[in-house]
Symmetry: C2
Subunit: 372 residues, 2 copies
């Protein structure tokens, strides 16, 4: 089975790949900012040249670090030694559905049998401290999906993740990492990862050497759901991380599946809640397959590049101050912000971009922004 | 709380009650036939006079027994000794929602604190051989619904039924019987029934002395769901009786609630399937209450009596033969049957009524009929 029925292919030149890597590794440049900069300045190289100026206008407290060409070449060389390729959306090895996200990583480190990344994926997630029944079910489900030709994606964690990877090794399974490819978490899963890489793959958007911190896991979770047709939550207590993955999956337009459990079992409280909120109850692989088959028949529409809307980089001081006044720690939508000011949408976008590059703005999902 | 916001009240005279009892206790007269006869002949007494003739025209192999006035008076007297009242749809003590069914019993034997029958009911059903967790959940749910002012209806069986009745005794719970009021099944639940009758009630459409047979339980199950706002299925294996109750409940327009369980638990297979098919997943009483509150606000519309459509009791032999030819053991809908003949709808209805009174026709749910 192949899931690479995509509408647009990309191939970066070696020089472009260096520039892209420099831009995404520079301070305060996340995937969304990367995309804005690339679209407004036409190339990563042109954007790099403007970074210091934009950050200064955004009120940067100190000068942000810009990744040098030397550092970028060193990272590429280190990746090569570990057999990690850095691929862009639309390139071979970049999961096609992941490329459709607003915050798709501009460059993704992929390793192993990367052709597995082009096949239809189902994510399986759940508790680290799962019950025996949960582990058994996750293993059976992963096995059956794998036999049916799907690639099982998960997070290499203990518990449900591990059970799902283990039973789908032969068909190819994908580990999505929160840290760099050389900083495996948990460390005792290095052997599991090695087994995965034979027929499957691992992906990470983080630089080599990056030790995963708590906040990197939710960030990584958007890749798990985003690359997949759907996410199966096997066991999850109230307020567990898997529920955040499920919410993000729904925002991304991915199918959300949940495995039911007794109301008396706290480890099923989260999955039962998901079903109440509209997730599809599943009890076997066939339920998942039946739901995703119609989606697989539709072509995957890659995001169109942002239009080359002429940006107004000369917002006057009053406009800038008014926009900043409207911002605070409580997230507000870009649309609301535009409605509340007299400034043009273009001006608002530029001010936000500058604030972001100055490290003063945080972008959340759903077009929400807040001051840091 | 009261659920008797009904649109029409009835009160039978003593003489009418005798006639109604005679008609419904006569051979081959079920609730639907009773309703047709009453509507076409204007009174039970007029219908009784025509029964032998109609059955003969339907090709009765032997003369059906017509309940005598003496037998009816004897049954009423025996009921009185047991404190059972026989009430008609629209009379006090007849559950208002039950009266809305096409096949509502014309006379229902009610016993105990019959005012409980006028309050909003939730049915709780499930396996006789339930798990400990299932029993505990059913008991907790029944208790919480009872505390919230609902009457819990169930079937007095072992397992889930018993657990539901026991924890809702104080608030009033209703046992719906498959046999006569003096033929309790299972016999060891006589004590439970006695406890139920203090604040709750028992109902049966069967004559005193009737020992419940296997086929009486599905028949009784339509009363459990029909009298309630909704039915909660707590634990049910594949192909269990509770699933039939759930299907009938849905056909009756009642809410269907199911309690989820692990896919590895065969006793949850049926409830998980129900949720896949659209039943509402519930994990606590609040889920049920939230779903039924809007329904309670709407008035209960009793069925209008059938129109006094003039029936053509003189179908010619050819028409009659053609209609009978179209019937067989496979159920066919009345509408299809009418479409397939040249005879008028009225003629088709009369031929079916005659066949039924001759004991040759079976009426199923959803307007389906078949030859016996």
């Amino acid at each position: 089975m192949d899931d690479s029925n995509i509408t647009r292919a990309t191939h970066l030149t070696d020089a472009e790949r260096i520039d892209w890597l420099r831009l995404i590794r520079s301070d305060n440049v996340g995937p969304r900012t990367f995309r804005s900069l690339l679209s407004h300045f036409g190339s990563a190289r042109a954007a790099l040249a403007r970074l210091p100026d934009l950050a200064r206008r955004g009120g940067a407290a100190r000068e942000g670090r810009i990744c040098t060409e030397e550092d970028a070449r060193a990272e590429l060389a280190a990746c090569k030694r570990l057999d990690v390729s850095l691929v862009a959306p639309g390139e071979a090895g970049y999961p096609p559905r992941l490329a459709t996200l607003d915050d798709a990583p501009p460059l993704l480190g992929v390793r192993g049998a990367v052709e597995a990344l082009m096949r239809p994926m189902i994510a399986i997630v759940g508790s680290r401290n799962a019950s025996g029944a949960g582990l058994k079910f996750a293993g059976q489900l992963a096995h059956d999906l794998s036999e049916a030709g799907f690639v099982v994606a998960s997070g290499l964690a203990r518990g449900i993740d591990q059970a799902a990877h283990r039973t789908s090794l032969n068909g190819g399974t994908v580990a999505m990492l929160a840290g760099g490819h050389d900083r495996i978490y948990p460390p005792e899963h290095e052997d599991l990862l090695a087994a995965i890489l034979t027929s499957g793959a691992a992906i990470s958007e983080m630089p080599l050497g990056h030790v995963p911190r708590a906040r990197d896991f939710p960030r990584r979770n958007r890749l798990i759901s985003g690359a997949a047709l759907g996410v199966v939550v096997v066991e999850a207590a109230h307020r567990s991380g898997s529920l955040i993955t499920a919410r993000v999956a729904a925002e991304q337009g991915r199918e959300v599946f949940a495995v039911p459990g007794s109301p008396l079992d706290p480890r099923a409280a989260g999955t039962n809640d998901l079903i109440k909120q509209g997730a599809t109850l599943i009890t076997e692989a066939a339920d998942v397959i039946q739901a995703v088959e119609p989606i697989m028949e539709r072509p995957i529409e890659l995001r169109e590049p942002d239009g080359n809307e002429p940006l107004d980089f000369d917002a006057d001081a009053n406009e800038r101050a008014r926009i900043i006044d409207l911002l605070g720690p409580t997230p507000i939508s870009l649309d609301d912000l535009i409605r509340m000011t007299d400034a043009s949408p273009s001006t608002v976008r530029v001010v936000l971009l500058e604030l972001e590059l100055a490290g003063r703005l945080e972008r959340q999902g759903g077009g929400m922004v807040s001051l840091i």
